[in-house]
Symmetry: C2
Amino acid sequence: MTTITRIQTQDTRFPLSAGDGADAIHSNPQYSYAVTLLHTDTGNTGFGLAFTLGGGNDLVCRAIETLAEPLAGREIEELMAEFGEVQRRIANHPQLRWLGPHKGVVHLALASIVNACFDLWAKERGVPLWRLLLDLTPQELIQTLDFSYLEDVLTTEQARALLEIHAPTRDERASVIRDGYPGYDTSVGWFHYEDDVIREKTLQAVAQGFTALKLKVGSKDLERDVRRARLIRSAAGDNVRVMLDVNQQWTLPQALRAAAALRDMSPFWIEEPTHPDDVLAHQTLAREIAPVSIALGEHVPNRILFKNFMQAKAVEYVQVDAMRVAGISEFIVVSLMARMFGLKVVPHVGDMGQIHQHLVLFNHIALGLDKVFLEYIPHLKDRFVHPAAVMNGIYQTPQQAGSSSDLLALP
Amino acid sequence: MTTITRIQTQDTRFPLSAGDGADAIHSNPQYSYAVTLLHTDTGNTGFGLAFTLGGGNDLVCRAIETLAEPLAGREIEELMAEFGEVQRRIANHPQLRWLGPHKGVVHLALASIVNACFDLWAKERGVPLWRLLLDLTPQELIQTLDFSYLEDVLTTEQARALLEIHAPTRDERASVIRDGYPGYDTSVGWFHYEDDVIREKTLQAVAQGFTALKLKVGSKDLERDVRRARLIRSAAGDNVRVMLDVNQQWTLPQALRAAAALRDMSPFWIEEPTHPDDVLAHQTLAREIAPVSIALGEHVPNRILFKNFMQAKAVEYVQVDAMRVAGISEFIVVSLMARMFGLKVVPHVGDMGQIHQHLVLFNHIALGLDKVFLEYIPHLKDRFVHPAAVMNGIYQTPQQAGSSSDLLALP
């Protein structure tokens, strides 16, 4: 019996070195977490993170304070046995729901709360999050999830069947636990890096073993984008996958022109080409630029919009982020849908990969989702108690109990 | 020359009588405004409102404080001459954008800010908002708007042409200024009202001259919805339009069943049948329930999602609310799109109709949008300095300078 005795929030912001983290639209980010702390009578503390770029992180913390109230006094196993319903009720808070619904500050707050609950649950069971999730029965897992508004594409019965179908072949995929999960490096091509910095960081990353890299594009000047894309292709060679990240800077007509101009450097995907709410623009673009794929998700707030993107065949690489949707449970629901639609899940890592390193193991082993690679961003690695260990471009499977979310106390 | 000298916010909440304002999901609303006050060196004050249900209204106020900073020291005419660009920059604040983008708390904050700017502008020119908007040249109006991400369906050139095409026939539609704009009454059928209350309020509203009424449905129990819908039809008679408001309570499969069961009471529209982000579910439903129409918009956060709903033919009555999208300017952009797509604009009135009574006059006269009717909610009529005057079910055209947003000081 472990009871949540006190709920606390922390507004935690980390300065970055100049240029780090910047893209075409987010020019001066301060990587930040709106943290939920669930204190208990056993001494364990659940750590939940939601990611922001600094400004407004305090608003998310304040929303957490109100939304998390129903968790006070709850016993963790009892809570998680009906967590899907608890989460649904919190998401539909009769007054705060108006501020979303299911998006923006209130949904980021819910992400932090949900992640804290799962973290605490894994710590109480003394296992890493990936192990906790793999050991749940299909019914136990489904009880933690909110499927509402997905009934036309994914019922709880279909979700259960999908889990059961993949159970007998888990062993074939479990080698990933021993071998680790491949990473890719986002930190070689930030938007304001000079050409020679990009070349140098590309060569370094390839030498470290990374086989996939990302470049930020989306300049006002398409020629700049094309030049930098060719530069990174030339430095990385033809066997490295290079992803281009537009950070929503193109209109649909611009995207159609730019994708054509960038085709000859063979991008592995084009990421966030236009506004993240524009399902139908992505649908048109996906049709026009095939076989180049579209990746998106870091700004898609919930399972309902993801459902629309999938139904419209507007996305191939689903970059759902458990710091953006309602935490680990909505991440899993989106992953289940992706599996139904035959898509790939390559999370965006607002958590710097800390939590998602667990989730991609679960996705691959339990859902049979392809092992692609997981984004790696090193800027905060000295801030976590158990930072993700990436060696030769491979995430090493975490062994500590919990979701690897614990932050070091600030000096 | 009128300069904004000081920016202030007010967290203003109004208690309601028991049951008022309640629907299937918002069980205990407290109608509230996150107010932006733009103080000036001439003594006029711009009043901007964003609507919430109470909880979190403070979060919107805090977001206003940060997002409104660029307005300090600006001269109002200079500001409004490039307002579209100013608004775009505020919406893309390099850190706070992450909390949306263009939705949730930060976008509600932007709504309040934008509305304050237009209110101040009209006051400085000494005219009611509808007159200000009608007197702008097409180019002046377009300069106040942000068309980004709409280029595939509405360019600035198309918007200008649309305004110019309707200019010669304005006089034919200008009689609405003298005659007033028809209202409809939302307050007869709140969710928790007993059957006899609904019957009585229906008879009263019809006696007062209203020719359109709304009933809240979306019970867990479809039979309750059907009974209440037939009751209001029977009390109102066949010549009154009765709209059914589901407040997002149905899944797509439920919506298909319920719409069939409710068909025989001839609803004028079905409002918010399912989740407001689910463009494709509404597309399917619209096809299946025709000729019954779908109305939605009170939870659609921005022009991009509205664009998708329109492209998908998933909405007929566009209930855009200038308290939900980025204020008066994004309201006008959505109205321009609706005109392009041949749809009707019937705003949701988080402002209780105060501001929208101006905007529907503009929409009808300048854009040639149909004069349908405007929602009327009387619960806050004693809170405004110049409450909307609805007589015999008709909004009387406001004559005071500004947007009718000034709130009385709280006792």
